[in-house]
Symmetry: C2
Subunit: 324 residues, 2 copies
């Protein structure tokens, strides 16, 4: 494993810098070197409070949630810009932010640039599913709200390469998200993309529907970033809602309450599997470097997992395989 650290935008996120610093320390304890990027005084104070040590690279500005993504152009010394610049300069092997996702994408695009042949970088999300790997790779999960058919093919290539190199899925099955299995079903984007996917050389298994997503009919599911983002957030939200309803159901009477004591551990393990914090963050694929984008609400565990995943991606050879 490379000795180069993962650069964490320690100022981004709803619970920064407390949870970002704590998450970075957890990752470092698991053997992944991390460098914190942000306001040195605040970060050093936080490190002291947590009783840990990590290198800090100063950044004087922050992109807040009310800034526009394009403000990364103006605030050149914003923490996300500095973190991504460390990757560009070969001083970090990946950048992670749980802050402004649009700004993170913009910083990655402006500073790292696109991989040759990739017109539109895309976000890959992993969702729990009944595949051999226990998960399905959804791409694009939100980078591009409007796309054209060839973009979906590029997303499919990147998603399949990720599944193969990072998730260790052999010969991943690629499905196209649609509203029926038949080739004639779908919107105009999907209808035009399907023949392109059929002759792409990928292991294309046809259309998959919303119901198939978690049932494991494909290892990689391709869609536009609008549908993908709706799907990702629904999948996460529905799991949360169902577990909340289960909690209420298990408190409805004495009998259920008694049973709840016995099934708690079993259900907790399942709830953890459904927890987005388990995945930590999502890679932006198609830029010339490893960049991970996490939930704004990330806690220390999510930050830690994001850093570990970013480190794994950087070590996987995926970027080289994609031609970065």
């Amino acid at each position: 494993m490379s000795a180069l650290p993962v650069a964490l935008d320690a100022m981004g996120g709803d619970h920064a810098p407390e949870e970002t610093v704590a998450g970075a320390l957890l990752a470092a304890r698991e053997g992944v070197p991390v460098v914190l990027v942000g306001d040195p005084d605040r970060l050093r104070a936080e490190l002291r409070r947590e009783g840990g040590e990590l290198p800090v690279v100063p950044a004087r500005e922050v992109i807040g949630m009310h800034d526009a993504a394009t403000d990364v152009r103006r605030k050149r010394d914003a923490s996300i810009n500095v973190a991504v610049r460390l990757v560009k300069e070969g001083r970090a092997r990946a950048a992670v932010s749980v802050g402004h996702s649009g700004a993170t994408m913009a910083a990655a695009l402006f500073l790292l640039g696109r991989i040759r042949g990739i017109e539109r970088p895309a976000i890959l999300a992993e969702l729990p599913a009944d595949t051999p790997a226990g998960k399905v790779h959804l791409i694009d999960a939100g980078a591009n709200a409007d796309v054209r058919p060839p973009h979906l093919v590029a997303f499919a290539r990147m998603g399949a390469a990720y599944a193969e190199r990072v998730s260790r899925v052999r010969s991943p099955r690629v499905g196209l998200l649609s509203i029926g299995e038949e080739p004639t079903k779908g919107n105009q984007l999907v209808l035009a993309a399907r023949p392109l996917l059929e002759k792409s050389g990928l292991r294309f298994v046809g259309n998959v529907e919303g119901r198939d997503l978690m049932e494991g009919k494909a290892d990689v599911v391709v869609t536009d970033g609008f549908t993908g983002n709706v799907v990702l957030k629904l999948a996460e939200g529905e799991a949360r809602t169902i577990f909340r309803w289960i909690k209420a159901a298990l408190a409805r009477d004495l009998r259920a309450k008694l049973g709840a004591l016995l099934v708690k551990d079993a259900l907790k393990a399942l709830a953890a599997r459904m927890d987005p914090a388990e995945y930590g963050a999502m890679p932006l694929l198609g830029v010339r470097g490893a960049v991970f984008i996490g939930h704004g609400a990330s806690d220390r565990r999510a930050v830690k997992n994001a850093i570990l995943r970013a480190s794994r991606l950087a070590d996987s050879g995926l970027l080289e395989a994609l031609g970065a």
Copy 2:
């Protein structure tokens, strides 16, 4: 309540005519008159087997799952055409099919025609959610894969009218499905539809995300039929997957198995709430008549619920309110 029956296409569906006939008998026993449409010999044999009596209107043809939707033009005596024609002729107050959904939509469009001012009829789906009514109304759930911004406004009007008249939601909150709460988030369709919804006179509450759908931020959620169908099938599929995983988790060791005995009833009630068969079928709104489209896999309970819902819609005054 009108004495006019609901017309059931008894030949459509994966388990027709066994489950369709049985479901019709269940509905009739709950006081809703039903007329069966299809092959008289098969339907009468099925009625005898079930030990029940219902009027039969003969139809010599069937639209199979491998037929095209437009085959309703060619097979004029198909059961779905005959069922819809009964509505058109004032001999039935609603038509229900759990067969070929495209064909059902086509038959409704060709035979009943559109309500004035509604360019695109749309499918309304109900999903369990933390709203006062316990559900969210999703429209369009699959009738129109590609739409233009004004169509979304028409869907919103129909969805709100349905929520008000049929689900008895006062002044329903209408949300636009998107990928961020800010007005600047979304694809081009959503960005163009939002200002139209703002000045529509509806109680528009802004964008809702996938995660908000079941959390009850709106009573009616508007989207195109591609996204809506993906969402509907994911919501149903994910609930099924999670309950399957729960079942496995509760069998993992003796302690969990013991607890499972105690929590079974509580979880069953919840699983029933999540079961699409509870809703039975979805109305096609915007045509001049009450038409319900159900899952092909519908069992007798789903068929019964579809008939009861179709009957309620016909009695609600919704169609008159929409100008049918």
